[in-house]
Symmetry: C2
Subunit: 263 residues, 2 copies
DNA sequence: GCCTAGGTCCCGTTT
DNA sequence: AAACGGGGCCTAGGC
């Protein structure tokens, strides 16, 4: 048996491989150590869907947060996996190492890995710091929230994350002439679904407005995104809405792009 | 220099670590071998978004298809990554190993990894077989396609993957009384967006129908999914559409669930 | 190449 | 806990 106390990393080469030892290590300290096993294995998955992978050489990673990854030599995404909080049980009694991993959240989901041969096995402590990401949609909404004049010079924010039966409206603005702007922000290239989403919000506000007939304001759909697909642009124009490229906002350009549309 | 010819796996322990050798291995045979490096590193990413990860112990995997993964001890998804087809360049001349990886597709995307310390480095040949997945939405559509009577006893398929300006309709059926069924299938629990999707399809068919006023058929929206959220169900009912739980279909139950709705 | 939509999506945030 | 929506989503399939 190998002591793991305080070890920073344990590397077992092919000559050190003993499946009972590996099975033992797999169970101990799994809350602290991340285990990495490289070898030939078959994999079965049964759950929301089901799959079977034939014998092949793969990397299996069982992280300290209970997530399981099985990677091949291609693709960013794992071939099989289990989400964080899953529990692995290993068994070496049948002459080969078998790992069964059950999801805590979806109890009926099971990934089963049977190793025919193990090339190397590693245990190590990895950091769990995460990172800071900038330049997301949230940042873009925040920017417009702080500078609504980029949409229209006299615009003021009158709503943010406004709930509707069809989802949340990113921003609602109103300018001095009384125009209402429904702003949908996408950090990526906008497709048809983004236009449909905007359409739904505008239609909803119009239906609300029609219930108080004393007030009749113009409601203008505005899509802010990093590019737009051809079909989406056509649909946008057909419905009389407006597209603003997010890049023109990001560079601090408070251009009056909109003014040529809004009279 | 280490020979990699024909080697199945190369494992360098902490005592073998020479960053110039690792840098050299990183460049050679990267089309065949997958490289795995575990060590303390800082990471910078600049591209569609940007991020920075402080010094921490992580796993870096550079696959033979050109994908790059950086994993910590938590989460199914990598902390940083680069998609397949990316190119890594390593450099050991400044006294530490630095790997810069550029995406081929998005040329301006760069992940930069600077290792302060390397614990182990591995090269191995992994399989790239992929797998077969069953129980997906496609299978469910196929099942209904082969057995349209599960929707309504006399129903026949009159359309599949039908293109509309708002997306593709999974299935369109017609029964003997002449009712038209627009079927949207979700393999997962359906949310508001699924109802909106179905609504768009029905509205589109209705608009098509109104152009040929001699034909007036009843168009019935049908959502087949593995569960439905409360708000989605409310929206569905409000619009007069029908929900069928996919589980009731999967068990071969050709129940006449629908008949109580369709007169 | 662009565009569309599904996914064992993952993941954070809010209700 | 459930639900909703973003994501550097990824990945497959059409055109």
């Amino acid at each position: 048996m190998v002591s793991t106390e305080g070890e920073e990393i344990i590397v077992l080469g092919s000559s050190d491989i003993d499946i009972h030892m590996i099975s033992d290590l797999f169970h101990r300290n799994s809350k602290i150590y991340t285990a990495i096993i490289i070898g030939e294995c078959e994999i079965h998955y049964q759950g929301r869907a089901s799959s079977k992978a034939p014998l092949g050489t793969r990397i299996v990673i069982y992280k300290s947060d209970g997530s399981l990854l099985v990677h091949e030599g291609k693709d960013r995404d794992p071939l099989n996996w289990q989400p964080p909080g899953s529990l692995c049980i290993s068994d070496a009694d049948k002459g080969f190492l078998e790992i069964r991993c059950r999801s805590r959240k979806y109890g009926h989901e099971i990934v089963s890995i049977r190793f025919k041969r193990i090339l190397t096995a590693i245990w190590c402590r990895l950091s769990t710091k995460g990172l800071e990401v900038h330049g997301t949609e949230k940042d873009l909404v925040e920017m417009i929230y702080m500078n609504p004049s980029v949409i229209s010079p006299s615009a003021k924010v009158i709503g943010r994350e406004v709930e509707t039966p069809s989802g949340k409206i990113d921003l609602i603005l109103r300018d001095d002439p009384g125009n209402i702007y429904v702003v949908e922000v996408k950090n990526e290239k906008a497709g048809i679904s983004a236009v449909n989403q905007l359409d739904r919000y505008v239609k909803y506000l119009e239906s609300m407005q029609s219930r108080s007939p004393d007030v009749t304001r113009r409601i203008i759909g505005v899509l802010v995104s990093n590019g737009i697909t051809r079909r989406a642009r056509e649909a946008l124009i057909e419905r009389g809405y407006i597209y603003i490229d997010s890049m023109s906002l990001k560079i601090g350009n408070t251009s009056q792009t909109l003014m040529k549309y809004v009279k």
